[in-house]
Subunit: 330 residues, 2 copies
Amino acid sequence: MLKHGGGILEASRRHGIPVGDWLDLSTGLNPNGWPAPAITAEAWLRLPETTDGLEAAAADYYGCETLLPVAGSQAAIQTLPLMRAPCRVGMLDTTYAEHPHAWSRGGHQVERLHPDALDGAVERLDVLLVCNPNNPTGWQADPLRLEDWRQRLASRGGWLVVDEAFMDVDPTSSMLPRIGEPGLIVLRSVGKFFGLDGARVGFVFAWPELLERMADELGPWTINGPARQVVRLALEDRTWQQRMRVQLRTDSERLATCLRTHGLEPTGSSALFQWLAFDEATALHTFLAERGILTRLFTAPVSTRFGLPANEGEWVRLEAALAEWAQARP
Amino acid sequence: MLKHGGGILEASRRHGIPVGDWLDLSTGLNPNGWPAPAITAEAWLRLPETTDGLEAAAADYYGCETLLPVAGSQAAIQTLPLMRAPCRVGMLDTTYAEHPHAWSRGGHQVERLHPDALDGAVERLDVLLVCNPNNPTGWQADPLRLEDWRQRLASRGGWLVVDEAFMDVDPTSSMLPRIGEPGLIVLRSVGKFFGLDGARVGFVFAWPELLERMADELGPWTINGPARQVVRLALEDRTWQQRMRVQLRTDSERLATCLRTHGLEPTGSSALFQWLAFDEATALHTFLAERGILTRLFTAPVSTRFGLPANEGEWVRLEAALAEWAQARP
């Protein structure tokens, strides 16, 4: 299995700093996630039912009814490659690692592409998969460009898969309004914007026949009852969503400014992270880790990703460490 | 997908009785399941970690460390058939329907067998799968007999799969003490005895290499954080478990006596249900449904399964309906 962010335990061992003393900026999740209410004991005792309102709340929030709730995007990422005979799949050279892992594992031929090479590659691909916005680079795709790719792929029975895990803050570029068009598949998740990563809930949007095949492959009751309840309530909480869209955008800009102030120019960003690809990324990652601040280090390209601090205390701590870094490198 | 018990909504429509007025005896779950405490909002916000104590609590409760937590037995049932090339799989003629469904779907040749035919079939099978105790017939297998079958299967690279979903009340016949022996796979679940069917948590026990392959197939984070927390606490609650073992045994005997008193002789049973296979099973099922009592009807053989009433009010209601039935058929 692949390794992921959030390795506080390992960092704690390596740097000799107690687990509770870390400022964890390694995950790219909303650090002020949706405050779930207490779940009643009864919810654990009944088989989850698809009549509990989750599907309706999701259709309303996403503005699209042709959906399948899954146990996190991860379930969709693992199942999609089983829905096609081995074929040629293109995706970005730097992107969320579970995608190439799953398609390779499914016997497909995966081609990793520079963003500028995507358009030229469409004709030789059967499936093009993009994360929009992309994690960790922050690359974004224009929906008109995506629609052009979808049409060219669909004309040969191909698919365009768009992972919109980081789309919620500004959904204007979402491909969801086009769901129903041949070959278009969109993945969404409540892990990032809502921060409900512990719930393991995501949604697949596509044409009904594909969703039925995926549901059959995944089997019944893949999301437990309490998770269905919590996610339904989060999707219905418009007040929180509106406030959070503003707050996350503000915080992401504050993080970019804070990095620049200390001589660090972000290479890319989304509303939930800033990404720095530069020669000293490993040194910066280690420098911060020695001060109990965990960022996410990537090796290809050498880069580090900063998630958002959760509160003023965490901002102060990050700013102090970055000031130290700037002072140490004149 | 297969249909399962708990179809109160459908029964409500068919018989014109409001959903809230039903006595649901259709599921075979403990009707007084483990009372889960409230889950903190934070538990929904973090990726589940395998260092949270669930594995240790399960190893302690089951007395066996070589385990893999899965999102309900269902996840194991669906994944096991992918772990072997197409082969010959034997299972009981009347058993939990998801097993034959999953193996057939995986391209295996499934042979349905009468309990008396199992022993003679072992030599021509690659996999023998039994539920012990069996659902819904209550058939039970002696561990020495199972060990004989395992040895004969394993000598040819075969497997013995034992689904012990209904084993918790009296685990003396469990095959868990033999885990590690070649070809032995045991499934357990917290859905029945603990009644935590809404949590979607089960465990697979087998040799480490198979568990690693299954974990890789299932991918990361298949059980959400709150479910891991609730199930850990349930597995650690020895006081509740001891009390519940006594209570369920008493209640199951009371149910058998209650049926007999009204002229209905159970064909089979476990601590969580009584099963009646007889010509009038459909008539009895309908008679009770017309009175808002839902049992589980099976068509092959024609039979109906009674779960346990939850409280004295439910007992009184069931007894009254059975008395009516007895009076109507002199």
